[in-house]
């Protein structure tokens, strides 16, 4: 499990002149549950479609589990992908979907698939077109998991689900990730979902990767500094200012220490919550300056 699940180098995808993903360089280690967050249109789906090999990059490279995505049958078998809106064949029954999975995947885990369908309570004879959104998502998840991949990719798996179904889906996801030993990447525009299930984070905005890393490391490396106005104009080397906010008398900065530890010279600092950190990056990417951090924007 030493091969990174995703290694991207200057990965770029353009549709005509419109950039969907720009210069993404990433190195995501194995064994993580990765949250890919960003607003709609940030490039999340593009990055995941590139990882699944559904589309090819305009320039740059991406390797998934050490190989080109969707290169051959063996590589396809190693990656499970659940697309946005969890598409299933409306005309096929739940049982026929399992049959599809069994016929198209050499490593298909039949007992696992049947046990999961039973556990979720899906009627095998029911047409998939008549399932609820939550049930469809569960069926798609079962299909992707029962092929026993090394990496599972979810593109906004819960976006279309109501809060109850969303919770059940994520709960389920957590359970079998523990059960079958698999790396996971899921995208979401809901930071709370990511916070609940992920241990690694990639923030995407305006088609660019803003920051990426293990969540514990990221929270350790980001902090808020408050000081009288004018005293925080120069910062120690190795730090980036993500956001600046001035009042008449004082300045508040959100700072990222690139080496992961906050410099002692900076005086008193406060930790920044994950949601605040994400929002700060998103606002910076949009060029709207400092957000009002107490206010939830979604």
């Amino acid at each position: 499990m030493d091969t990174p699940v995703i290694r991207a180098d200057a990965l770029t995808k353009r549709y005509g002149p419109h950039p969907a993903l720009t210069d993404a360089t990433l190195d995501i280690p194995a064994g993580r549950i990765v949250g890919l967050v960003g607003p709609n249109g940030a490039g999340k789906s593009t990055l995941l479609a590139l990882a699944a090999g559904l589309i090819r990059p305009t320039s740059g490279t991406i390797d998934v589990l050490g190989r080109r995505p969707a290169a051959d049958t063996a590589q396809l078998a190693r990656v499970g992908f659940v697309a946005q809106d969890t598409p299933v064949y409306a005309q096929l029954t739940v049982a026929e979907h399992l049959r599809l999975g069994e016929r198209l995947n050499p490593a298909w885990d039949r007992p696992f698939a049947h046990a999961r369908i039973k556990q979720i309570g899906l009627d095998p004879a029911k047409k998939a077109g008549r399932l609820s959104g939550g049930q469809k998502a569960q069926l798609a998840l079962t299909l992707a998991a029962a092929k026993r991949p090394e990496l599972l990719i979810f593109d906004e798996p819960v976006a279309a689900l109501d809060p109850l179904a969303r919770r059940a889906f994520l709960q389920n996801l957590m359970e079998f990730v523990a059960e079958i030993d698999v790396s996971v990447i899921l995208s979401s525009h809901l930071i709370s979902d990511v916070e609940r299930v992920c241990d690694h984070l990639v923030i995407l905005a305006e088609s660019r990767v803003q920051v990426a890393g293990d969540i514990d490391d990221l929270t350790a490396a980001h902090f808020r500094v408050v000081g009288p106005r004018g005293t925080l104009d120069t910062l120690p080397a190795g730090t980036d200012v993500i956001a600046t906010e001035h009042t008449d008398r004082q300045t508040t900065l959100i700072v990222h220490a690139r080496n992961g530890t906050r410099p002692d010279t900076l005086g008193q600092t406060e930790p920044v919550g994950l949601e605040d950190m994400v929002l700060t990056y998103l606002h910076r990417a949009q060029g709207t300056g400092a957000p009002t951090l107490q206010e939830s924007t979604r």
Binding site: T73, G80, A83, R99, L100, L104, L143
Partner: protein, 329 residues
């Protein structure tokens, strides 16, 4: 993959097969009926054979023409209803993102779909074509015009090529257009355009046509003059038929023995002698040039037609195989 393809196409394949089976039964009946009439009225004919032939042509011409049209429309419909949605329906429901992430490469996915669905289209169309060719054989022998566009395109092996081409158009247009309805409409339009272009602009030039100079006295031995007109601008033949050959000349100018056109003065001279137009032309030593494709080129033309359709189909299929692994979103 084979199971999945069959599962998706099961219903429509069975319905189409049922409709074609009904058509096949009708063709068998029609073929048997035609043979009976042919044996009775034409093969054993001793007097008024021309009239007997015309009666057969009148009785069977219309149903055979309609069946021919069905056979020409068939590939267009299969291309539009089977070929075009093959990929667009997956794109519209998003299920391509499901199936392309099973452990099956897109090339294999496309190959199986193409071979199974496209193969069935070609075989069904081809079977219908051979059956119609059999059923219509006595009529075609009497009509002696196998190059007639609606006959040529609905007999023997040309329809195999059409079925393949129409399916390939549907597939390739589907890949490019990504919308089922649009792809279906474009498929039908392109296939009609192909048929019209082949019949009017391409097929006549598969081989260098033969131009023969025919003396007036031999005119009705080599072929048949359909109509002949004398006017202020000279004399001309409108429509000349040679048995089983494909005459390409529409209006044929008639020349005198010295190589100049028959003109008003010649005709006025004939009128003064109250000569019958036929006698007039013979007395002038009239000749005319007919350009045509001889009857023995029928099979080379059938093969050329098939090859043209299959070649185009191969290009379009190649396009789909090039495009699909590169991603459609």
């Amino acid at each position: 993959m084979i199971w999945l393809t069959w599962r998706h196409m099961r219903t429509q394949t069975l319905w189409t097969a049922a409709a074609l089976a009904a058509l096949a039964v009708y063709l068998l009946y029609l073929g048997a009926d035609l043979r009976e009439v042919y044996d009775r009225d034409i093969a054993g004919c001793t007097a008024e054979c021309g009239q007997a032939a015309r009666a057969v042509a009148d009785a069977f011409g219309t149903p055979l023409l309609l069946l021919g049209l069905v056979l020409i429309a068939g590939p267009a419909l299969l291309g539009a209803f089977w070929g075009a949605p093959l990929i667009t329906r997956e794109l519209e429901t998003g299920t391509h993102r499901l199936v392309w992430n099973q452990s099956v490469t897109r090339t294999r996915w496309l190959t199986v779909k193409l071979v199974l669905v496209g193969g069935v289209s070609v075989l069904l169309t081809g079977a219908l074509s051979l059956l119609l060719t059999w059923a219509a054989a006595p009529y075609d022998q009497v009509a002696a015009s196998r190059f007639e566009p609606l006959t040529f395109a609905a007999r023997d092996i040309a329809p195999f090529g059409y079925a393949l081409l129409a399916f390939a158009i549907g597939l390739a247009v589907g890949v490019l257009a990504r919308k089922t309805l649009l792809a279906m409409a474009v498929t039908i339009a392109l296939f009609i355009a192909f048929q019209v272009l082949m019949a009017t602009a391409v097929r006549p030039h598969f081989a260098e046509p033969v131009t023969e100079t025919i003396a007036w006295s031999d005119a009705n031995a080599v072929g048949t003059i359909d109509s002949f007109g004398i006017g202020p601008h000279g004399a001309g033949i409108q429509g000349y038929t040679i048995t089983d050959a494909w005459v390409l000349s529409d209006y044929i100018t008639v020349y005198k023995a010295d190589g100049t056109e028959v003109d008003e003065d010649d005709i006025a001279a004939c009128d003064q002698q109250t000569l019958h137009p036929d006698e007039c032309m013979t007395s002038l030593g009239a000749v005319f040039d007919v350009t045509y494709q001889p009857a023995d080129r029928y099979w080379p033309f059938q093969w050329a037609e098939f090859a043209a359709a299959a070649g185009l189909a191969a290009l379009l299929i190649g396009l789909a195989f090039w495009r699909v692994p590169r991603g459609i979103n």
